[in-house]
Symmetry: C3
Amino acid sequence: MISSALSRQALPSGVRSLGPSRRSSPSSSPPSYPKFPTRINQTGRCSQRSQCSLGVKSSPYPATGRRFQLEDVIEAQQFDRDILTAIFEVAREMEKIEKGTPESEVLRGHLMATLFYEPSTRTRLSFESAMKRLGGEVLTTENAREFSSAAKGETLEDTIRTVEGYADIIVMRHFESGAARRAAMTAGVPVINAGDGPGQHPTQALLDVYTIEREIGRLDGISLGLVGDLANGRTVRSLAYLIAKYQDVKIYFVSPDVVKMKDDIKEYLTSKGIEWEESADLMEVASKCDVVYQTRIQKERFGERIDLYEEARGKYIVDRKVLDVLPKHSIIMHPLPRLDEITPDVDADPRAAYFRQATNGLYIRMALLKLLLLGW
Amino acid sequence: MISSALSRQALPSGVRSLGPSRRSSPSSSPPSYPKFPTRINQTGRCSQRSQCSLGVKSSPYPATGRRFQLEDVIEAQQFDRDILTAIFEVAREMEKIEKGTPESEVLRGHLMATLFYEPSTRTRLSFESAMKRLGGEVLTTENAREFSSAAKGETLEDTIRTVEGYADIIVMRHFESGAARRAAMTAGVPVINAGDGPGQHPTQALLDVYTIEREIGRLDGISLGLVGDLANGRTVRSLAYLIAKYQDVKIYFVSPDVVKMKDDIKEYLTSKGIEWEESADLMEVASKCDVVYQTRIQKERFGERIDLYEEARGKYIVDRKVLDVLPKHSIIMHPLPRLDEITPDVDADPRAAYFRQATNGLYIRMALLKLLLLGW
Amino acid sequence: MISSALSRQALPSGVRSLGPSRRSSPSSSPPSYPKFPTRINQTGRCSQRSQCSLGVKSSPYPATGRRFQLEDVIEAQQFDRDILTAIFEVAREMEKIEKGTPESEVLRGHLMATLFYEPSTRTRLSFESAMKRLGGEVLTTENAREFSSAAKGETLEDTIRTVEGYADIIVMRHFESGAARRAAMTAGVPVINAGDGPGQHPTQALLDVYTIEREIGRLDGISLGLVGDLANGRTVRSLAYLIAKYQDVKIYFVSPDVVKMKDDIKEYLTSKGIEWEESADLMEVASKCDVVYQTRIQKERFGERIDLYEEARGKYIVDRKVLDVLPKHSIIMHPLPRLDEITPDVDADPRAAYFRQATNGLYIRMALLKLLLLGW
């Protein structure tokens, strides 16, 4: 049994009690039952979690030298440039891990619960592959709504308190914006937001920035064309937000009128000194971009205006003509799945980076799991 | 290959044939195929399983010193006081297991099938966590009805004979009372009942008794208030049954009139010399109980009498006023999920034991898996 | 990082890069990103996969001594007699693997994705058990249709390119004939067809032939009674196809008129010099067969003609009377699940081989996983 005086980082990896270990209040220690591991506050983390902001302004992740205290992954805004760099370094190490090596077993004995309140097979498999690539184990549920069904009426908080007894880390997908933050406030184990409704999907944002850095070799001075549904796509919104942390960035917005980038992001970019402009000419933008980031026009956003959807959908297609003008060093990205906004004949071009981008999601998630469970 | 003359207990742990090993009749050995491991009867267990009673009267689990032969977990009635004590000792050891130790890998190479004919994510995750905490592996299905769908018409027995070829132990949830017993009669591998319809949910009963022992320090002389839906809750019925095996127990039943404890349990308690009384005063009961066991009033039991449900539901709530009169050493339990029968402001009190109770389910299930797969 | 000059077979087992390793075109190597493991063509396999036939006529699995290059399992037709013999030898080794031995961990660190576009719990559990019996890990999805839902419109090819980034081998069940072949054409990792619509289910065919060889001791000179729905059962069609590779085989078709064996298989058998005849007398056939292979009459094939279904269903039942005339050395097989076409009182007879047949599926799948991931 590990003494409560030891912080998590001080423990030899792989030698921790099985019980949840980050319960908040020392005053909750029961009279007759003092050593029960679920009630020991093992870390020095903020003991009143409800007073901890997870947002941008007062980040709970202060840098101490290079040793960030990464405790949860809730939203893209929680990451600053230094922590992004540090995470990307770990992701790069993850790429090199080979089967049968000690590095491929660092999470042996650790259990991840994938608590998905709505199915997202792609995201779930990526996280589960990441956990297993590091030797960890997974508890899966894709029907987590049963935990809190209307009939039974359990709160998210109660569910989290139960699941944290079974797992060392919780990866949650939820249909409500803000659910991940609520879960993290409650949980005594780390929580990763795998998408909460129209809100955040921070690991997608991280893998996007990582892919640019990995493929182009830098983030400062990058020129970026964001194409497609910029009004509704949380992916491009988060990417614009994160890329604004770098210098001399230039962003082009290329979208049908009905799904233009909203003013909040434009104003944010301006406030950060990021140059941006809107364009209706995909060919011209492609000819001067390092990255063309294409997105899917989502039919469901158009309701009964199918005519508007069809018009928007066909307007900006990445095809071989775009490849003809795209600089040789540039790349095409897409969060996937795609419909027909990138034609299949583009796939064979080495600048088609979207499937590599998906694989980068694996490495980013491996890095986050390692950092949250073992520290730096 | 292990000789068929060796009993399971005599084998070094982790060194067993992969094939199912407890097929019943030696006469089923085929002429041309004598060494096929699925037909070898490796254990000395009752060879005609259909003649083995799993019930109370002629228990197949005779104690031989401390070495009980635990072969299946089907119903609360199969456990006597000695075996409960022994299981709890193992569960206590489970609490202390740390990652990276040999103890956390004792079930390496063992496979558990979770065969759920109706989904119960909470119970399933608890079992799967238990198996993985001991280094074992899991085959999961939440849609086991497909095995025996009306369209295909496969019997439960056929399904079990197939699944026992894939796994070393079967954890089954079923919608029909008695299904677990049928499965155990057929299976050549151990079966654990994870709830069969309105029938039994024995691991819940075990974790409840374990929690009392763990939190209060004893079971003899305990006073216990059972609150809420006592007519329909199989949890409180099983708990009353098991606690009757201890001495000087006092039970208070506190429930709305429409869901009072049924006579069969009252008569059973009386026959065992257990003192019990019914009360309409939760505050008074709470002031003299070691354990207040609250349960959820299940709306579906009231049919169209929503008025009766609403009346019953609001009648006995555990809130801060109950905490004010509850002795300092006492605890509040609940099988979860809860609705509003315990108010959230109770959670922070150290006497709120219900989330620890859920975690104890993990330790009990770890203990059972170890005992069924490796023996004592 | 493994050099791209090394073939997979030359690598020490368990020491391979985590990334997908069989991407097709070396020309897709990106300018700025030369060492990314997903783009390295590590094997000497056909680099233009779309030009590789997987079919019978130009098999991509040429034998080089005993070292077949087994890269995908798509259809029964791809196997010739030599490769069947070699696979069965490996399957026999799989039967002997014991827990806790190095053999039970040969696939440690390898990840299998079970990508099921329609649920088939029985087949899925068999594959997942096989993978875990060899120390490998599994990513499961039973709702893979979400990947390619009409709403999102992703192609199978795109899905495969994403999943191959997460797993080392893909086991796919699909509702469309030919889907497995398309997946294999795209995938940079091995693909196993776990059934694609009315098309193929090659691992079932392999386990059937393996069971005959395992139970009877030979395949040449075998006499085989195929009973039941011979028109629609892909199982019996594949079995007839494979058994035709052996010498002096005699096949009896016993079926209701409405579901007789189709001409294509009869003509194929004749062209191969295999003797076959149709019979209406199950008892007479059973008296001279080594194997009686019973199948289920599928109600859904009869549409509204319930009368024809009922007539067909009751016509040929394997019961104790059939056992009375069945030679002592013979066996009864069934692909399962069964309805009432074999009566339960047959189960206890040692000649009832159908549950052993299901277990043989485990060994065949273990063998295939080992061969596809590690080679011979």
